[in-house]
């Protein structure tokens, strides 16, 4: 992965995409940190599709729910931060993809699914969670953190 040679324009847009997704995830995390009593309960209970049982079980168990809430809130914040500043590049993006995959399969935009949380757009099978997930996957295979990001410093230190 360290052999990527990007043009300036390619770099600009790859980094811009990385920062935007990082910003989105981190702000989602921070707003939940700042909102006392926030819980994913309603979102999980409203799950539809093949895996809904899994998510509803998660919500029904108060101990599990508090772990899920904690992981979600801090996962979003830290993964978002890592993507913005470009640190722990692979780990952060794998984390982001796992979270986005959960959001996607918990609320898949199926033909017959009606959600309590109304989406702000119109979706069928593909929604923004899936697109963001795929965008992170692209960033995973076109990394920039080792060029613009703290990973560059880490890499240099290791070299020493």
């Amino acid at each position: 992965m360290s052999k990527n040679n990007y043009s300036a324009v390619q770099m600009v847009f790859l980094v811009a995409l990385r920062i935007s997704i990082g910003w989105h995830l981190m702000y989602e995390g921070i707003t939940k940190v700042l909102q006392p009593g926030w819980s994913s309960y309603g979102y999980l209970m409203d799950s539809k599709g093949w895996f809904s049982g899994f998510f509803i079980n998660m919500a029904s168990n108060p101990n599990l729910l508090s772990i899920v809430d904690f992981l979600n809130v801090w996962g979003l914040t830290l993964v978002g931060f890592a993507m913005i500043v470009g640190i722990f590049s692979r780990l952060a993006k794998i984390g982001a993809m796992i979270m986005l995959l959960f959001y996607f399969v918990a609320h898949p935009p199926l033909m017959m699914a009606d959600y309590l949380f109304p989406g702000e757009g119109s979706y069928l099978w593909v929604n923004k969670n899936l697109i963001e997930l795929l965008a992170v996957a692209v960033l995973y295979f076109f990394p920039t953190e080792h060029i613009v990001g703290i990973d560059r410093l880490i890499k240099q230190f290791r070299k020493k």
Binding site: Y6, V9, Q35, G42, I84, V85, V148, D151
Partner: protein, 533 residues
């Protein structure tokens, strides 16, 4: 454009050994973005906080809610078991027994079975967590053998078990309520019989010195309402009317909204009933064993006009004036009692009504569509009741004031009026929203508060009831009976006592009389009777 830019390549020749300025710059160049995000998030939160505080100040809620979060009172120290008799063990009577902790085993069986396939089904768990009221069902009475057997079975289920569970001592069974009232092993009675029997039974129970919990509505006529009041007061018994809405947390919050005058002058309150199903229109199933051998028909009739045995009338008695108070007594009373609970309106001065039997042309005498308009002259208030049994669209109780309006269900929402003088400035400053509620209360969330997130608004608007972590779901009928039992034990007040019951009954009867006579009726408080205009 170059296809390869060495500056973007980590293996740059410039940095074989040390870390150059360029490395540091490129490593940290995006760090300020994270800083900007934290700053932005903080500023946004600050702004929201400011608006929130301004809103609370404007609404005089900045010192917190006066209404404490509802909680369940401890059962008082008196450890004596209260001995309860149940008169009428049909659908409602069995429900009230269930709320006291005596459930028919078949429900536990059914819920257990359902929980096997649906993990969200925790009804058995919730039921078993319900407080033990320390009561014993010592007697039951019903005039239909099937109801009697069901009541008897429930009375033995002291451990809240299914069919295979351990049973306790069965209640004594009476075929006539007067024999039940004469028994000396009964301290209090729960009455869940057809409306036309309420008055006589409450009066007889009061005279026998038994405390009374009776289902709504209190009575069938204006005259008997005052006979009940007299008997209850003279015998000094603890009386509770079965309006369990008194226990709904959001209603206490609504009282605070009124007390703080957040709506301005309230001139109109609208209440509704919309149902669209056979059972919603009182067309209940007729049990196949309903026959003259199993039903004491003469006792059912009581003082009602004579009529040959009718299984239909026995089960669907709410469809006939002979035994029922129709929409006003059966369904409007639920609405009215909430208004009385929240605004303490008392008996109205006048009523007009219109409606008819438009959909259920099944021989019934009570209307299935009805409008009643009540006037409260001293309060400058009109209360509208609008009902149909042939459409189920939900219409929520709404209180309209000069500065705002309040929508009240299990949840509560208060909206500012766009034209309000009081809120004009705050609306202009963006502190008070006009397209979304300025105050909401979602049950289980504790205090009254201003809206903080779209999600919360969304749940509030739909009145969705779900348990919060640490929260507890409780049956309102259980709380209402518990309040009555606590009052018997230690004299604490009941929330729907005889005064509230008389208000409820007279208000309902005024609507009924206006409808049946097709005339405007007025209340004469000196004569304690209605007059036609």
């Amino acid at each position: 454009m170059e296809t390869t830019d060495n500056n973007n390549n980590i293996n740059s020749e410039n940095t074989p050994r040390g870390i150059g300025r360029r490395d540091v710059l490129k490593s940290l160049i995006t760090l300020p973005v994270a800083g900007a995000l934290v700053y932005g998030a903080f500023r946004k939160k600050q702004l929201e906080h400011y608006k929130h505080n301004e809103l609370l100040k404007t609404l005089s809620l900045d010192k917190g809610s006066e209404t404490p979060a509802a909680y369940i009172n401890e059962t008082p120290g008196d450890s004596t078991t209260l001995r309860v008799g149940v008169i009428g063990t049909g659908g409602r009577g069995l429900y009230l027994m269930r709320s006291m902790g005596f459930i028919q085993p078949k429900w536990i069986d059914e819920w257990t079975e359902s929980a096997k396939t649906n993990k969200q089904d925790n009804r058995v768990e919730i039921y078993r967590q319900m407080d033990n009221l320390n009561v014993e069902i010592t007697a039951i009475c019903d005039i239909f053998t099937v109801h009697r057997d069901a009541g008897l079975e429930a009375s033995t289920n002291i451990h809240r078990e299914g069919s295979n569970g351990q049973k306790g001592k069965p209640a004594r069974v009476y075929k006539n309520y007067k024999e039940l009232l004469a028994a000396d092993d009964i301290d209090a009675v729960v009455i869940a019989t057809p409306d036309h029997w309420h008055a006589q039974m409450v009066i007889d129970a009061a005279n026998a010195g038994k405390h009374v919990y009776v289902e709504k509505p209190l009575s069938l006529t204006v005259a008997e309402t005052y006979e009940i009041e007299k008997a209850v007061k003279e015998n000094n018994i603890v009386f509770q009317l079965g309006h369990q809405n008194r226990q709904i947390e959001s209603h206490e919050k609504a009282k605070e909204v009124i007390r703080k005058n957040l709506l301005g002058k309230i001139t109109l309150v609208e209440t509704f009933t919309n149902r669209n199903s056979p059972s919603g229109a009182w067309v209940y199933d007729i049990h196949p064993d309903t026959n003259p051998q199993n039903v004491d028909w003469q006792q059912f009739l009581g003082t009602a006009p004579d009529h040959p045995f009718s299984a239909e009338r026995f089960h669907r008695w709410r469809c006939w004036w002979d035994y029922s108070t129709g929409l006003t007594g059966d369904l409007f009373t639920h609405e009215y009692d909430v208004i009385n609970q929240v605004m303490n309106v008392g008996i109205p001065d006048a009523a007009t009504a219109s409606g008819g039997i438009y959909y259920f042309k099944d021989g019934r005498t009570v209307p299935d569509v009805l409008h009643v308009s009540y006037e409260f002259q001293k309060l400058d208030l009109n209360l509208l009741y609008s009902a149909t049994l042939a459409n189920s669209q939900h219409r929520a109780k709404t209180f309209f004031g000069s500065d705002g309006y309040m929508v009240l269900d299990n949840s509560l929402m208060v909206y500012a009026d766009r034209e309000s003088n009081r809120y004009r400035e705050a609306i202009q400053d963006g502190v008070i929203p006009t397209d979304s509620p300025m105050i909401t209360h979602v049950p289980g969330k504790g205090g009254i508060d201003a809206i903080s997130s779209p999600t919360e608004q969304y749940f509030a608007q739909r009145g969705l009831l779900y348990t919060y972590r640490g929260g507890k779901q409780v049956d309102t009928a259980h709380l209402h009976i518990k309040e009555w039992i606590d009052s018997i034990r230690n004299g604490t007040p009941v929330s729907c006592g005889i005064k509230e019951a008389v208000d409820e009954a007279i208000t309902a009867h005024m609507g009924t009389i206006a409808y049946r006579n097709n005339k405007k009726v007025f209340w004469d408080n000196n004569k304690k009777d209605v007059e036609f205009g």
